[in-house]
Symmetry: D3
């Protein structure tokens, strides 16, 4: 048994992060994972939502979108339909929560940082790539704030990244194989789909696992988590590599 | 250490399910879990969404809503605001997926069953109560279809229910205590929040765990899962009890 | 000639009001009239709409909704459709006007009381039941404000209630029979439909009469009004009965 | 006591109806009542709403709008706000019901006639003027259908018109004076506001009376009705006068 | 070759402007050009949009609408559809720009003038008629401000007007004929459509030319411009004629 | 006098077109003009809008969007605001018209080609870059249809491209300088702004010129057109160069 792109079941697709992909943004990157391509920008604004006014805390939030032809078939444009889908809202809430979980927002009061994650090409794993890339864009934006003397200390506690793990069908009668970082073809036939968001200290930020066809046993969950952590290690290494030399001194990421 | 309502940390709140709470609906119940109260109806319609036309499959879907004063402070009415919040959409997608995971939809082609879960009083755990109650309403609606000779076989594979588990703060310096079925006061200070949707055969349908303050270790996840399963056992027992005598012969639930 | 539930033509359906049906609300009740069931909450907020700012007056307003399966056939959820229907808006404007007509709003400046009337089961007469119940919820909320010392005097001038009256078809050739408090089956074949909102001093707050099939003479109007007043008397008696002992001294209702 | 424009309390404002005010429409008129000016068109379309398909009945419906500067202060354009107000929806539902009540829709199956009532200048009484004018536009459109041989018989049973009546404040201490056809200045201080829609056979189509400040006695209602009927008589005479010579033979209106 | 209404190809349709067509508005007119009829009001409000606050400048903006039966076939009402079409937005942006181009807005700081252009009857050329009429309504509103002493100097630099020019098909094989001020029948078969907005000093404010069927040469553009200027001369003369005697002394237009 | 990037006033910014930038789309390119970057996809679907059903014609349409941080300051996401701005609608209508003007749509009946133009980075000129790039994406999509045997003949009549021209301020007292292909800094201070859409046979498809500060003379228009044609020549050459070898034989572009 092997995967159609000859990857091992516990291998990630080729992944790369190109920093500073958008000139106007305070932080930005283009993250590619296989064919999936997401452009992430971090925008800094001197305001906070009303529920944080006078709280001494800043805000980190995310928006997510997909270009209409990011997908195999063209999807209607959300701006033209006049509303964002439930899927879009769910994903952008997830991205926002993930980034807030590793950020000390008392260190940038009265500032909102918006992470816009726009999918240029979708081949599964777009929410995970968005989170992994958003961390990089956020570091770049905060580094700029530090360089400009607007923040005194690094508000990031530790790196966060996300990876998808699936249970894909094996031969008939067999119970399925745990596979890392599914592409669209694999994802659309997977039995179980799990997104793992974790930190470099190997702690969980969010876990979302869904039986797509059949309920699954807790042993499967354990095996998927283990595969997930191995994928996250490689993503943390990539984040460190691309950020190297781009952050102010004493601003370890 | 004990809970303010003198429950043990692994105890559910008092929970009850009243069947047939709405006269017009094909299936319905009122589920109460502590102060949380959700009215669930199952509506049968002779149509399927366009993507299932001529597929030989029926459809099961859910909608979720909260009365404006279900909450401690009045919340604006979604119908008046002109759109459902991201939270609402996320929850109703979750309920729909959970019920579909235990249903063989080829046994009721061309039929849509909509589960409306409306929260009359909210004291945390509304999405879990919705799922647990929706299973009962769905069984009642399918039983009626069977009694009317419209379906030949029970399309339900096994019971599904949901429970929330939290990691609540203990004394300062201590790492938190795993607690089952949080109420609003506990939920709003919890360190970790996990929703477990499982089946009577002790398999997972969905797991969603979120670090609300700090990332958490995998050992905490394991302890929360274990607490969750014990809560689910009691919910399956309650579902069986209230459905007893209400389903056609040979229609085990 | 008699009615299908063996009521007399000038009899109300069995009607009951259960106070304090929702724990969080400042005032609330569940009103049932036959199968019709409406949950009413009164919510107190320390703000007024901009047109009343600095006017020395408070505000009383209403919102109305129907659960999707309150009706015989499931109706689409207004929050999902993204707008409230004309019928909904018309009814909630009516409820608000009715309650304001018996309230001295200069006695609670800078306070808004919102009456949410949510129909759990609809069997005709929902707008009338909403008004009759909203009066009770409003009294309860104002009583609490009085008990907390936030208002000095009872702002309610006198009780208000509402009842529907119809002209239902008699034998062919005969001109129709005036009937009180129609249920859905009667309502859907009525020739004339009248809603009467009146006060305990037998004065009119609002009258809305509509020819559903044929224009009608003024004599019919007179007979319907007379039937209406008899129904209102019984509703005022019920309001008094359920509120007894629940209002502060000197706070007659 | 007299009115500021020296009218008697039971007099209408000067009223005129100009037929065929819009060249493209099948029927149209411009109705003026004092300064109030409403342009009404009747549009014939070969379709019916889905609930009337194959029913053998046609449809009559209405839409209502106000130009932004019809009012003393400019009002926001509903098209720009993205929704029609509750008031607009309520008025257009009323106009549609009124016209349907005098129409035999089995005589024009599969045809929809839409009455667009657009207020060019608003000085109170716009809903009543809309109904009175819509009857004229509808007669003109049906006359054209008859002239083209598309309908065999006049579907109109009898004329319908509408008038407003108010209870306006008299000297302090006195109970108010019943006045016909209020203008904006009178309307905005009226104690009671009543709209009477009636037919030439002196039967009621709709009555809507509202206490604007204080509940009112049934004697006031009687006096207002009596004033209303006298106003309607004059409107029926005007309708007859302007339609004279414009309807096919045997098509009495 | 001649036009169906026996006009010459370089002649305008009969055009008239009736000032003060709406009593409440600070400025207003009804402009007719052939069958096209547009009601224009200028409304003065003591506020500016947020981007002009404290800028020392006032604002001039426009809104455009069409009554549903202005057109040959009834069009759906934009307020009912819940949004303005792209065409509507494009036209109202154009009208606003045109009027701002001849206005010195520093002479009425903190004031917004809104030009509402509502098409009562549409027979092509509605955007041009709107601009030509909006200039008149704007002069009238500013004259009133001057008369009330609210502005010291005439903020209008020079008159602006607009005209449409088309290239209409000639005999087969021939290249088309340039024609001024197309009506609907001509417009719907035109090869090229050009709108020219110019000032009395023969300078361009806006030019929009579109190939409706085939791209066109620059020589055609030149011939259309020349025809357009001749039409604009006549519109400036009409504006001057109707405004004569209506503006304060020293307020040349 | 020279430009800040040392370009001549009649020079374009560096411009490049990268074909096949999106794997799933039938045709696509990334066009860059200075810092402006637009991703264009052409999507082929087997349907036409209802007004073209059974007409023997296909359809070509466009949608336009801007990523929130394409601009110097972050702009709110249109999908989140729930509607597309007037500017967006105006631009996408323009792009669609431009492409249709050079396409024989009878050669691909029952097919819709949608050109999605999404701005990744905005530095002025985005609508022109969208049109120039959309032509390339459309050629690629039609070439694929030809290669698949789905169309027999090239439906494109000739290339189309677009360029912006401005009148930028010169020294005080001097009348301004005509400049080609403005960037954001130039565009925001320009006196006149003109977009020229033309074909390789030097014919006009659309011309839109706007006085941003002062009306302008016809001599300025002529000079701007002349500058525009020189820019278009260079864009046609680039289109030809990047398409070379990518179109089927006999499919000249």
């Amino acid at each position: 048994m092997s995967r159609k792109d000859s990857r091992g079941f516990l291998e990630l697709r080729p992944v790369s992060i190109e920093c500073d992909a958008v000139p106007h943004a305070e932080g930005s990157c283009l993250i590619q994972e296989g064919q999936t391509r997401v452009l992430v920008t971090a925008s800094v604004e001197n305001r906070v939502p009303s529920f944080l006014r006078d709280s001494g805390e800043g805000w980190v939030t995310a928006e997510y979108g997909m270009l209409p032809r990011a997908t195999h078939e063209r999807s209607p444009r959300e701006a033209a339909k006049g509303k964002q889908s439930g899927r879009t809202l769910e994903i952008q809430r997830l991205i926002g929560r993930a980034l807030r979980s590793v950020t000390d927002r008392t260190l940038f009061p009265d500032i909102t940082i918006t992470l816009d994650c726009d999918v240029l090409v979708a081949d599964a794993g777009t929410r995970c790539a968005s989170i992994t890339g958003a961390y990089v864009a956020l570091v770049l934006a905060l580094s700029r704030l530090a360089a400009e003397g607007k923040i005194a200390k690094n508000p990031l506690k530790e790196p966060v990244a996300a990876v998808s793990i699936g249970l894909v069908p094996a031969e008939p009668g067999s119970p399925g194989i745990v596979a890392l970082d599914l592409d669209y073809a694999e994802d659309s036939t997977a039995l179980v789909d799990l997104n793992l968001i974790g930190t470099a200290s190997r702690r969980l930020v969010e876990i979302q696992g869904t039986a797509e066809r059949e309920p699954f046993g807790q042993d499967v969950l354990m095996e998927m988590l283990s595969a997930g952590w191995s994928g996250l290690e490689r993503l943390f290494a990539l984040q460190r590599a691309v950020l190297k030399g781009r952050v102010p001194e004493g601003f370890t990421v």
